[in-house]
């Protein structure tokens, strides 16, 4: 048998490797297919979907910051129905796991979206209760343990897919939210989504973003995200996808050692589209060099 140290079971799905593309950073796969060698990855997360789609936010949406960026996309997406018809077939053709990221403004929207996705051949449903860029819903569901548990339970009841709940680092008590989601039936957790941040146009003397605040991502947040993943992994026993500022092999290894079963790479793909594919190769070499039978041997080793 061949040496396949990166193969990872995650929420009952067999992934080629633990390297996933984070939601919102590779769209639905088309544009980065070749540039980022998407078919080499363990999986890709779709752009955040909402039941009926959305045109997203007005005004500036991207603002660079030191070693990161603020975004205020506001979940621009074609809606769950068109996603299934127009985008999913292509995503499936990539040959890696497909994770649908589902956002929403209300409970009913989440539940209907999840139900609609039961018709679709996706591998995992990632419940985005952590988007800071829509004014109602989104992050509001993930801030509070009770509301996070509530929506998790309701979506879990309706969905036939393994449920990954994506948490926000802006939650006052992240560990309580994580524990509540586990308790409510989440099959896994992914974290972190973006940190609430701000930028000011000092010439115009007003906020850069129409929503005033926006979401911070990129290497800048890595040390905080790593701490949060470490805390959550110690508090729950379901698998965790570690996200936040991963730029290179050391960062991915850090998340795995802190307890994450897989990692998702987001912003760094913008800066260097080959980041994820390179990471897959480097993790393979790492396993070989360290005589690991499987990468899972270092998960949570701290």
């Amino acid at each position: 048998m061949s040496y396949e140290p990166l193969v990872t079971e995650f929420l009952g799905v067999t992934l080629k490797n633990p390297v996933l593309a984070a939601s919102g950073t590779v769209g639905f796969g088309r544009e980065y297919e070749t540039l980022a060698s998407l078919s080499k990855l363990g999986g890709i997360c779709s752009k955040g979907l909402t039941l009926n789609g959305s045109l997203g936010n007005d005004g500036p949406r991207i603002y660079e910051t030191p070693a990161g960026l603020l975004n205020s996309i506001g979940l621009e997406n074609p809606g769950v129905g068109r996603f299934i018809k127009e985008e999913l077939p292509f995503m499936r053709s990539l040959g890696c796991a497909v994770i649908a990221n589902l956002g929403g403004h209300s409970e009913i929207e989440y539940i209907k979206g999840a139900s609609l996705l039961n018709d679709a051949e996706i591998d995992i449903l990632e419940l985005n209760i952590s988007c800071p860029n829509i004014l109602d819903g989104g992050m509001a569901f993930g801030i509070d343990p009770k509301s996070a548990a509530d929506i998790t339970k309701k979506v879990k009841a309706k969905s036939r897919h393994p449920l990954l709940v994506k948490l926000t680092p802006n939650a006052p008590d992240l560990i309580a939210v994580a524990a509540a989601c586990e308790e409510a039936g989440a099959d896994g957790l992914s974290l972190v989504n973006t940190f609430l941040g701000m930028a000011i146009d000092t010439k115009l003397r007003k906020p850069v973003f129409n929503n005033v605040y926006a979401g911070l991502s990129g290497p800048a947040i890595f040390p905080i995200a790593l701490r949060m993943v470490h805390e959550v992994c110690k508090a729950v026993s379901i698998p965790v996808a570690g996200i936040g500022g991963i730029a290179a092999k050391e960062d991915a290894l850090s998340f795995l050692m802190a307890g994450a079963s897989v990692v998702q790479i987001g912003s760094m793909t913008f800066a260097a589209p080959d980041t994820m594919a390179k990471l897959v190769d480097e993790l393979y070499d790492y396993c070989k060099l360290n005589a690991l039978e499987n990468i899972r041997q270092i998960v949570g080793i701290l």
Partner: protein, 238 residues
């Protein structure tokens, strides 16, 4: 990875960079450029093809130093590596017949390759170029290679000089107020005008929805569905 074969200042704050090994593209398309191995600046910067030498495979970019990214570019020496993703976006359609090109400031850069391409695709057409600069003109000689007429204006309003009643197609690139003025004049005259838009970008390839603009045909990603648009389509958002 592309290699910088030249990187010199051609006017105050305006640099010309030549790259070998960069992906080639069409007039109006652009590259997302970044110094590899540095997180500062974090994002790649979009720069339009200014000219392409297909024989040697050399891409020429002309850029103005604005902030952190372009200033860092200006300090790179010959032989340095450059990450160049592209060709990005959709370029200028080469409408057959006479053409008028209107460039303001650094917006002249992509028009050079356009003049080049228009000339090559239809050697006998008439190409007129209006270039406007705040203080110092550049690329004038280069436009002379491809265009029949090159008029240069310093400090004035370039769209005033252009006559929108003569050519098969008009092309404009430059600051937003200039594009707006051109779009108004073109619409009044019923002329076909293509303009190139700009917006902060993260991915540059259409994946992040960071550069969306509203058009008559719905949301469009400037980096993927543009940066060149028919002025009628985006008139309202200018």
């Amino acid at each position: 990875m592309a290699v910088i074969s030249e990187n010199i200042e051609i006017a105050k704050g305006i640099f010309k960079m030549c790259l070998s090994g960069a992906p080639l593209g069409e007039a109006g398309q652009f590259l997302m450029l970044k110094q590899p191995d540095s997180l500062d600046p974090f994002l790649a910067r979009p720069l339009s093809y200014c000219n392409i030498d297909k024989n040697s495979g050399t891409v020429t970019l002309v850029y103005q130093t604005i902030g952190k990214g372009t200033k860092a570019f200006s300090k790179l020496k010959q032989g340095s590596l450059m990450q160049a993703v592209g060709p990005c976006g959709r370029g200028f359609p080469l409408v057959s017949g006479n053409a008028v090109l209107i460039g303001g400031g650094i917006g002249t850069a992509p028009l050079l390759l356009l003049a080049h391409a228009l000339r090559e695709s239809q050697p006998e057409r008439h190409i007129k170029v209006h270039l406007g600069f705040r203080e110092e003109a550049y690329l004038i000689k280069e436009f002379g290679q491809y265009a029949d007429e090159v008029s240069v204006d310093i400090g004035g309003i370039i769209t005033d000089a252009a006559d929108f009643s003569q050519a098969a197609a008009y092309y404009a690139c430059g600051p937003e107020p200039m594009l707006k003025a051109a779009a108004l004049k073109a619409e009044k005259a019923g002329a076909e005008l293509y303009i190139s838009l700009e917006k902060n970008m993260a991915c540059g390839v259409g994946a992040c929805f960071g550069c969306t603009c509203k058009t008559k045909g719905g949301n469009k990603r400037i980096c993927k569905d543009g940066p060149v648009f028919n002025a009628l389509e985006v008139h309202d958002v200018l």
